[in-house]
Symmetry: D3
Subunit: 72 residues, 6 copies
Amino acid sequence: MKLSTRNRLPGTVVGVEKGDVVAKVTVRVGDNHVVSLISRESAEEMELEAGKEVMALVKATDVMLMTEDGLA
Amino acid sequence: MKLSTRNRLPGTVVGVEKGDVVAKVTVRVGDNHVVSLISRESAEEMELEAGKEVMALVKATDVMLMTEDGLA
Amino acid sequence: MKLSTRNRLPGTVVGVEKGDVVAKVTVRVGDNHVVSLISRESAEEMELEAGKEVMALVKATDVMLMTEDGLA
Amino acid sequence: MKLSTRNRLPGTVVGVEKGDVVAKVTVRVGDNHVVSLISRESAEEMELEAGKEVMALVKATDVMLMTEDGLA
Amino acid sequence: MKLSTRNRLPGTVVGVEKGDVVAKVTVRVGDNHVVSLISRESAEEMELEAGKEVMALVKATDVMLMTEDGLA
Amino acid sequence: MKLSTRNRLPGTVVGVEKGDVVAKVTVRVGDNHVVSLISRESAEEMELEAGKEVMALVKATDVMLMTEDGLA
């Protein structure tokens, strides 16, 4: 399987909050947390729950960059 | 400054490839690489170059999740 | 702070509607209204409510254009 | 014609910069400028050029919000 | 009316599931089903319901590609 | 492999146009054409070329809906 999506961050689910149509899934990736809003249906079909290993995928056009004053 | 964007991944620019209108910026975030496609204009205004510290920002609705056979 | 996001529209919150996971925030920008769907968590952390001044941010790749018959 | 896209900002094209595959179109909307990255093909089919009236469309899920220190 | 959005898939609504803020609309496009998450407000204004003919619109930057082992 | 992305449209590549940083890939899906803008790097790694079978993937939050006057 090859995917055009450039960014693939391996992590572990640490929380799933199910709304009526949308679910919020929090994933620990290294030292960071990544939050994903997906359909509730997807969360259930994928049997997402704390402890499950997942890959967070993000298209390159969806990544913004910020620099802060005082940073290198 | 408070931002609605949930995902903020601190990293270091490792490469900038400038096209005519779009630039591809590669950022090292922990053990991963994150690729961003932004306008060339942004890349120049932000003076992005290898070694510069940046924050990669991603909206929660732009994060997909994948599970693989054999994982957890 | 410098941001790769090209579009920054200053406005005033005129309404916040909180769902279980997602919140809908309406912002007046000049003569227009801009609607944003963000996580409920973000809306609460940012203490968004009518009257609050905010900046609406949109990536250039997320702007579509339409022309209508009869227009210039 | 009805469209699910919530945000429709009427404006006037002030600049078009054509790259090989992507075009950058700048639109004046009230007191703001809105930048759009679309395919070069779209820009040509729509005959976009300075002075043309357009509608900039943005999905509600693509609008982020920022508050700044010192603002209301 | 001309639209920069490249992808326009004609189809028929086969289901609408309304959450508090977001609605999930399922559309049959040829042999496939396409699922759309839009604001509940949009779904109501457009009077979306099973049997209604719609056009599903997707920006070219929002289409990812995958190839699978064993294919072509 | 399970993916949160709801929309998976099987098709055949009918054209690839490579820019300096971005590539435009056109895919025939049933009676429709789907255009994808991805990084040139992805297009090359995936060895995309006319005749190759691919799956076009689109997140549910990236699908807009339009109804037209005169349609059912």
